[in-house]
């Protein structure tokens, strides 16, 4: 069952009302699938609706329209959600962007890591809660001595590892990471991304990885989706999208990746897209196997 679809997002739309008359369409008719054991990257500029989509997937926001099927369960339906509450809350876990605010400053690292197990009242795999916490700390590359400290005493990279350890205690099948590396510096980013890769290989969980760092996404992800102003404009296997970008916005994004060589980077002419409005209309059409692009007119195929 290698290609079994774990998460199926269909026509997801979410609107934030600003006042009685105006509203922001943060996510507009977005559909994508994540297969079991796959890393799906969602990229786009800030404000393009990536985080909102992720939060809808995690049931933090109730979407305005559309369905999200997780293991065939419509998680947006209150009745179905309630029936499968425990399964949904244990097998889907989220990692937030800012580890400083996603960990309670007044709790010790140990209590933070044990929190999901205590909330769900599950028996840890490795005997006691503390043993499990120690194991997870080692697993994400932290000294178990840190269990006694408060998150304020740790560095950003260490805190993000704590957040990852907290998510892993539940042995998730779907891990949603909302820009987990955006607030870290470059060397720590590389460490965390390598850690993700390693963990994903060991656990085999599916992974929704949100980032605006395209290099990292290309390195880590199997498939990517590109979002622009709430629309999913292109989706496909990472290699296909990065080597053969078809939507103009994807082309612009990829052209903006800096080359890590100052001489070549300075000489390079980066086209200026700052005032360009890219088209956001049309339908997703499959141009090659698994590679969909938002295009005007015509039938799929």
């Amino acid at each position: 069952m290698e290609h079994e679809i774990l998460l199926d997002v269909r026509h997801l739309t979410h609107i934030f009302p600003l006042s009685r008359k105006t509203a922001v369409k943060a996510v507009d008719d977005v559909s994508f699938q994540i297969r079991r054991g796959e890393i799906f990257g969602l990229v786009g500029e800030s404000g393009s609706g990536k985080s909102t989509a992720a939060r809808c997937v995690m049931n933090i926001y109730q979407p305005y329209a559309g369905q999200i099927y997780y293991k065939g369960i419509d998680t947006c339906d209150r009745g179905q959600f309630r029936k499968n509450k425990k399964m949904l809350q244990t097998t889907r876990q989220m990692i937030f962007q800012d580890s400083g605010s996603s960990l309670n400053q007044k709790m010790k690292v140990r209590d933070i890591i044990e929190e999901p197990m205590r909330v769900q009242k599950i028996r840890p795999l490795r005997g006691s809660y503390e043993e499990e916490a120690r194991f997870q700390m080692k697993y994400v590359g932290l000294d178990p001595e840190y269990l006694k400290k408060y998150p304020g005493e740790l560095s950003g990279g260490q805190r993000q590892r704590v957040a990852i350890a907290r998510a892993l205690t539940m042995e998730p099948e779907l891990l949603v990471a909302d820009e987990p590396i955006a607030s870290l510096d470059a060397s720590i980013q590389a460490q965390i991304v390598n850690l993700f890769r390693h963990l994903q290989k060991e656990h085999g969980f599916s992974f929704l990885f949100i980032a605006h760092d395209l290099d990292m996404v290309e390195f880590l992800c199997d498939r990517v989706g590109v979002m622009y102003h709430g629309k999913l404009v292109e989706t496909g296997p990472a290699r296909a999208v990065f080597e053969n970008p078809l939507h103009p916005y994807t082309k612009a994004l990829i052209a903006a990746i800096p080359i890590p060589d100052p001489r070549r980077e300075r000489a390079r002419a980066v086209p200026d897209f700052s005032n360009t409005e890219f088209s956001r209309t049309g339908t997703l059409r499959e141009v090659e196997k698994d590679h969909f692009v938002l295009m005007e007119g015509g039938d799929a195929g």
Binding site: M58, N59, I60, K85, K86, Q89, T90, R92, Q93, M94, F96, D98, S101, S102, L103, N104, Q105, K106, M107, E115, P116, V119, Q120, R166, M170
Partner: protein
Amino acid sequence: MTEKTQLFQFAGERPAEKTEAEKKKKWYQDRPVAAELFLGLLVLSCLFCGQIMTKDPSYMDLKNCSVMPCREFLFGTDTMGRDIFSMIWYGGRISLAIGLLSTLISTVIAVLFGAVSGCAPAWLDALLMRLTEIFLSVPNLLLVIFLLAAAGKSNVITISAVIGMTSWTSIAKVVRTEVRQIRNSEYVIASRCMGGSFFYILWHHLAPNFFSSIMFMVVMNIRSAIVAESTLSFMGIGLPLEVISWGSMLSLSEKALMTKAWWIIMIPGVFLIVTLLSFTSIGNYLRKQANRKQRNL
């Protein structure tokens, strides 16, 4: 050019001695030692009043009415011949119990109400807060008198309940503001994703964060509950005269004033005032501590 360098040097020269001095501070500095000591002694002697009391506090020694403080009656006796020294400890029990019990009641109501209002959608929040304001605008004493009249015969529990039920509003408003600030922080969202219930999140994530900001008000609430009890007893609608508390002791004052027996009013009055002052200074200390911690963040 020279001016500039001097300015830079001046800016760079700021010494770091202050923190050094703070480290050397003795444990008793900045702390309301006298208040803590007094309250500690008071609580202990009220708890172990059986060992301290020289007389039965409710026994009316009619041969010794309104006796000046002397060897036998350390604080004198009241108009009914009861020993004031014994009554102080025995009555302190009731007064402190009312203070603590009603504060407990009001804090529980306030935290629940504030947290519900803080987590609720905007319309419910507005409704709850307007209700609180209406409640707040009714004079407290009037409300207490009404509730006491409705409760019928008063004892320690009903008085505490009534005082507690009328003094939760300001704490609830503070709790609500704090909860509103932190309810959308990511660790609360994370906890909700994990399946943490409302009460779990309230206890583990919200309470530790607003605890320091309501601590001052909670301590002040103990104080005002004791005052409220003595006011009510003084007016004759609180505890009945045979239940000894500092308030009911003070309610004998009009008789005492006519007999020029100053000790009947002065001694319970002084105890009451010193206790209130102690609570106030401890409350102020806690507030300063909370503010300092927030600064250091």
